[in-house]
């Protein structure tokens, strides 16, 4: 029966050779190579659940009075947008499940991209000929951050509205044309024109998903065309010879299984763990705010940066050149992403290594890269943790103001220490390997000798 189907398709498309090649496409086998797939499957769940939500969401900013089933909101004024999401959460059957799954999928999507990026960085997978793949992946990450931000801001609840105001403040802080950019995006000063929510809607449900889909296709296409990198797990793997498991029958059930595992975990979370209960936050007003407002985790590094910068606007002769939020909201992520984009070129320049690389390095085999990478991760992580210093004061009674001062020092000292420690760890691990190898060989020989003796 398969034969008949294949024949039908081949006669009409001529793709049998391509399909055969695809079926036997080789996947080098290591668990860390699956992290990118986790991101891909999270994206699929996002598109599926998002499509459903888009059929119920209303992007209107007209003021309405709530008369629905959730009592604490009865009689309150809110936008149509907010009401439609309260409606999805309380009235549409399975609406809350799909909404929560969508939000969990977004959190997990970015988390898995970050894990995947760490694996790519620390194993040198971005090296020639895969720089393009790496840069496309970084772009997907940046776009995913924006997409998530827009997604939860579309709800117009108190928490995300505060986040939008801050985004506006950060846009304004761009030197020379901050106000122009902000006025262009919002259609004037905050809260902007009514069209702003329609714009977020179109960007979030159409423009960015299309962009991510195209970038993903290019990313995966490039991986397939140059083939996947591999670790040197035995003598068989070399720069020329790829050792792997074919797509069919080996890899396909495993990848498919991973897809359903991702879907399963996301739907379990979507049903069992509450996320963004917007009916509790209430509608947004520019004159309202709540304590403890935070952005979604993947923007937490920015709130930490915004809180740490000391109080000053850089003013020259009455011209406010650099308003305060610029450092934390634009410069800090700008430095991090510039570093990531330029890293393959910088590494090439410094090491002089312009060769083709299909074999990955274990982190210990590239001590400088690992040390610098660990330092960077430490820097971002410390800033991220600083963003939660107020909760730490509430929970553990450690003065917030004192913490801020401590972090202002720690975020510079910590990465240096971490980098030095990582470097030394790499060197020590490398030194230990021949010793370990000799020890194992000696054990093996001793065992073989004992067996011979037994036989004799």
């Amino acid at each position: 029966m398969i034969r008949k189907l294949v024949r039908f398709l081949d006669q009409r498309t001529g793709t049998a050779p391509l399909v055969r090649k695809t079926l036997r496409y080789l996947f080098p086998d290591h668990w860390s190579f699956l992290l990118g797939e986790v991101a891909l499957y999270a994206f699929i769940v996002l598109v599926a659940t998002g499509t459903y939500l888009a059929l119920f969401y209303q992007d209107g900013t007209a003021t309405v009075t709530y008369h629905g089933p959730y009592l604490p909101l009865r009689g309150q004024e809110m936008t149509e947008a907010y009401r439609s999401v309260v409606n999805i959460s309380t009235t549409v059957k399975a609406g809350l499940l799909i909404r929560q799954t969508h939000h969990w999928a977004a959190d997990v999507f970015v988390a898995s991209i970050v894990l995947h990026l760490l694996r790519i960085f620390f194993t040198g997978a971005y090296r020639k000929p895969r720089e393009l793949t790496y840069w496309i992946g970084l772009t997907i990450l940046i776009v995913a951050l924006l997409e998530g931000y827009l997604g939860y801001s579309m709800v117009d609840d108190l928490l995300s509205g505060m986040g939008l105001a801050i985004g506006y403040g950060v846009a304004l802080s761009i030197p020379f044309f901050g106000s122009n950019i902000a006025a262009w995006i919002w259609g004037g000063p905050f809260p902007g024109q009514h069209e702003f929510f329609a714009r977020m809607y179109i960007v979030h449900v159409f423009l960015i998903p299309a962009l991510i889909a195209v970038l993903l296709a290019a990313h995966l296409g490039l991986v397939a065309m140059r083939h996947h990198t591999q670790f040197k797990a035995s003598r068989r793997e070399t720069e020329r010879k790829l050792v792997g498991v074919p797509m069919f029958p080996g890899q396909a059930p495993r990848s498919l299984g991973l897809f359903f595992a991702v879907a399963g975990v996301l739907f379990l979370l979507g049903g069992l763990v509450q996320i963004n209960p917007i009916w509790l936050w209430g509608p947004f007003h520019t004159y309202s705010s709540t304590n403890g407002a935070q952005p979604d985790w993947y923007l937490g590094w920015l709130i930490g940066a915004l809180r740490l910068v000391p109080s000053f606007d850089l003013v020259i002769d009455g011209y406010t050149l650099v308003p305060n939020p610029f450092w934390g909201g634009v410069a800090f992520p700008g430095v991090v992403f510039t570093f990531l984009f330029l890293w393959p070129l910088m590494e090439r320049k410094v090491t002089g290594d312009t060769a083709f690389h299909n074999v990955l390095q274990r982190p210990r085999e590239a001590p400088w890269r690992t040390a610098i990478g660990v330092a960077m991760v430490t820097w971002v992580t410390l800033v991220f943790i600083a963003g939660g210093a107020d909760r730490i004061d509430v929970l553990f009674d450690i003065s917030y103001t004192a913490q801020i001062w401590a972090y202002r020092v720690l975020i510079w000292v910590g990465p240096v220490i971490a980098g030095v420690v990582a470097y030394r760890a790499c060197i020590e691990l490398q030194r230990g390997e021949p010793v370990e190898h000799d020890r194992e060989r000696a054990e093996h020989e001793a065992k073989a000798a004992a067996t011979v003796q037994d036989v004799a």
Partner: protein, 331 residues
């Protein structure tokens, strides 16, 4: 009746029967054969039936919408259905299909002859051009200007070049202060050690310049610079409620009950904890804000209502390049 019997027999055979797949005896197997694992096979079958069971539970829970904890039951059933399917597939992948480790060459590093051929095709194609640089430059100009033209309508999205709206305010001399419901504030309403939110009568409450926070301080507590020394009315001061750092609403007021032992009065923003002193004109005490809070001058009219005596001393909201270049405009 015979039909039903046939159906039952087929189902029983399907469940219990086992068959080794026919191999083409005349051909070399492409995928190497492996041993049978009936235990794993049974596990896969059980997992697949479990998948069906959980999926059916999902449909049932959806239909019976009077159940409490609907979302939890829906999520648990669908999630478990997916996880059982995942387990079945992973089991197949690891134990029921042969895991081959095949060697293959990586694709060729580059195709130098093809690269040259492409370059040559392009070069040959230009053999009829005599003024190549000029043609290229013309294309560049055409493309550049046409591109600019195509981008131009994007300017309609917002007043890209107009900064006047950033200086506009919804206050002017004589405008009454009202609460969220539109009721005017009287000076007598405003007590010490607490805070109030006010808006200009008849204006859009959501506009950033509209919301102000009102506090009353003992008259001898003020240390205002000369330019705004006459802004308070009977000890009542009004500051923009929009934080000058990044635009959140300043909804915290630190009001000590016993001054000797507690931090002094301050307006605080919950986003990054910028802290402003109401006694000195809104200067920054702590936090990242780089600019003081704009202050609204007040007076009390003959009937005892609070009114604005003008507009703010500085533009409201987060700082931008022109925020210190001009005074804000009254409504």
């Amino acid at each position: 009746m015979a039909r039903v019997k046939d159906l039952l027999v087929s189902a029983a055979l399907l469940a219990a029967g086992r068959r080794r797949p026919k191999l083409h005896a005349d051909r070399e197997p492409i995928v190497p054969p492996g041993e049978e694992r009936p235990g794993s096979e049974l596990a896969v079958i059980v997992l697949l039936f479990a998948t069906a069971l959980f999926a059916a539970a999902f449909i049932a829970v959806y239909a019976l919408d009077r159940l409490p904890n609907q979302t939890q039951l829906l999520g648990a059933s669908l999630g478990l259905a997916f996880l059982c399917l995942a387990a079945a597939l992973i089991l197949i992948g690891k134990r029921l299909v042969v895991t081959e480790e095949i060697e293959e060459d990586y694709p060729v590093v580059e195709h130098e002859s093809e690269q040259e051929a492409i370059a040559q095709v392009v070069a040959d194609s230009g053999s009829r051009f005599t003024r190549r640089r000029l043609v290229k430059a013309s294309f560049g100009v055409a493309g550049g200007v046409l591109g600019a033209a195509l981008i131009t309508p994007a300017a309609s999205l917002g007043p890209f070049l107009d900064v006047e709206p950033f200086y506009a305010t919804t206050w002017k001399r004589g405008r009454r202060l009202v609460d969220e419901k539109g009721k005017p504030w009287r000076a007598d309403d405003i007590e010490q050690s607490t805070f109030y939110t006010a808006f200009p009568e008849g204006a859009d409450k959501e506009a950033l310049p509209s919301s102000v926070v009102l506090v009353r301080l003992p008259p001898h507590d003020f240390k205002l610079p000369k330019a705004i020394a006459n802004y308070p009315a009977q000890g009542i001061v009004a500051y923009s409620k929009i934080c000058t750092h990044a635009g959140c609403a300043i909804s915290l007021y630190r009001a000590p009950l016993f001054q000797p032992d507690e931090p002094r009065p301050a307006l605080v923003c919950p986003c990054h904890y910028s802290t402003f002193d109401p006694a000195t004109g809104g200067t920054v005490l702590f936090g990242p804000a780089g600019r003081k809070l704009p202050m609204l001058p007040l007076y009390v009219d003959r009937k005892g209502y609070l009114r604005a005596a003008g507009t703010y001393d500085e533009p409201v909201g987060p700082s931008w390049w022109g925020v210190r270049m001009r005074k804000p405009k009254p409504a």
